[in-house]
């Protein structure tokens, strides 16, 4: 897999943003969500737990991607028997 270290910071920033979005979904009901959020519904008390979970999963994926980009090329290893 080709390493792209220039993507580390954007991936981390995106991951943090997605986790913030996830927390907003988990803590705010649909009526209190910002109007540009998918699932916003004026007056609704429904909590969009699944929307938050989706954002959290993608955010976690961004962190894992960034983690792999911080590694060097193929590490030296002792030969396996």
């Amino acid at each position: 897999m080709t390493k792209r270290p220039q993507l580390i910071i954007p991936a981390v920033v995106l991951g943090v943003v997605l986790w913030v979005i996830a927390i907003v979904y988990w803590t705010q009901d649909a009526g209190s969500l910002p109007s540009f959020f998918p699932g916003h519904s004026a007056g609704s008390t429904h909590i969009h737990f699944k929307h938050g979970l989706a954002a959290a999963i993608v955010g976690l994926g961004c962190f894992v991607f960034a983690w792999f980009q911080t590694g060097g090329d193929r590490p030296d290893r002792p030969p396996t028997s």
């Binding site: 897999m1 699944k50 989706a54 894992v64 983690w67 792999f68 590694g71 060097g72």
Partner: protein
């Protein structure tokens, strides 16, 4: 009166364990069977969804236990790659683990966001029968469009290693996204992922193995996510039936996975394609005339 009888729970549990792993759509069967038998059970009923949670959890548990040695190797492989921050091409279990992760994410996301709207949109038995027919065509298509059946020169090579070698992350992403088709009653998750595996160059046996590995986290997560509904007030009056259904589903899921892995050593998806086309066509006409 209980919304589901114990007899119905046994029948639906046995059916769920088989149809979840056979490429014939469990959701499609659980929609059309109650109508054929004249049962007053509908797929969007809260109590029926709670019942299905238990059968899904049982199926996922059986799959996990059936491939427990593979999962142990996969988890260790994932750990090694995270430690090294590198996915070693010579480490098949690390590669296989990340293939499963990459394949699970699109199905999981689509499931989280589209499960409810699709379930509501395609709730009718008529639609399920039509999509069952389409599922048969999809299986025929996968067999017709597959690359030439691979011939393995090394008989001793493990299927997991072949899967890791043959599949790329892009293919795994596509197979994972195809799994989301199962949100539509009548289309099969395992059929879509087996078909995707064939198109990517796997043999039938390897495609089935990868489909079962890929199905485990997604079925398990879907079950766990809805477990509170079964344990809450929505599960009142169906918990006993759900437990019985789960045991039945677990038994048939175990027998199904054993049978299918042997079946696909020498056979293809064609018999399931014929079954889905035939049953889908007959039921579509019958429901339209009824």
């Amino acid at each position: 009166m209980d919304p589901i009888s114990y007899f119905q729970a046994i029948v639906l549990g046995l059916l769920q364990g088989v149809s979840e792993l056979f490429p014939i759509s469990s959701l499609g069967h659980s929609v059309v069977l109650p109508r054929i038998l004249g049962w007053n059970i509908h797929q969007n009923d809260d109590y029926f969804l709670s019942f299905l949670v238990a059968t899904h959890c049982a199926t996922a548990l059986v799959l996990l236990l059936f491939f427990i040695k593979d999962w142990a190797r996969i988890v260790k492989g994932l750990g090694r790659s995270l430690r090294d921050r590198y996915i070693d091409p010579d480490d098949p279990y690390a590669k296989l683990g990340w293939l499963i992760v990459v394949g699970t994410i699109p199905a999981g996301l689509l499931g989280l966001l589209l499960e409810h709207p699709l379930r509501t949109l395609f709730a009718s038995t008529q639609t399920a029968a039509i999509f069952l027919f389409v599922n048969g065509l999809m299986l025929f298509g996968a067999e017709a469009l597959r690359r030439r059946a691979p011939v393995r020169s090394e008989e001793s090579i493990r299927s997991d290693e072949v899967i890791a070698r043959e599949l790329g992350f892009r293919e795994s992403l596509g197979i994972g996204a195809a799994q989301a088709l199962a949100l539509i009653p009548g289309l099969s998750r395992s059929g879509a992922s087996m078909g995707g595996g064939l198109l990517a160059g796997l043999s039938n046996e390897e495609a089935a193995r990868f489909a079962f590995l890929l199905a485990t986290p997604i079925i398990g997560a879907a079950g766990l996510l809805k477990l509170p509904e079964l344990l809450g007030s929505q599960g009142d009056h169906v918990r006993g039936q759900a437990l019985v259904g789960a045991v039945c589903a677990g038994i048939t899921a175990y027998l199904s996975v054993r049978f299918l892995l042997r079946f696909f050593e020498t056979n293809r998806l064609t018999p399931f394609a014929i079954y889905c086309c035939a049953v889908g066509a007959v039921l579509s006409v019958a429901f339209a005339l009824a």
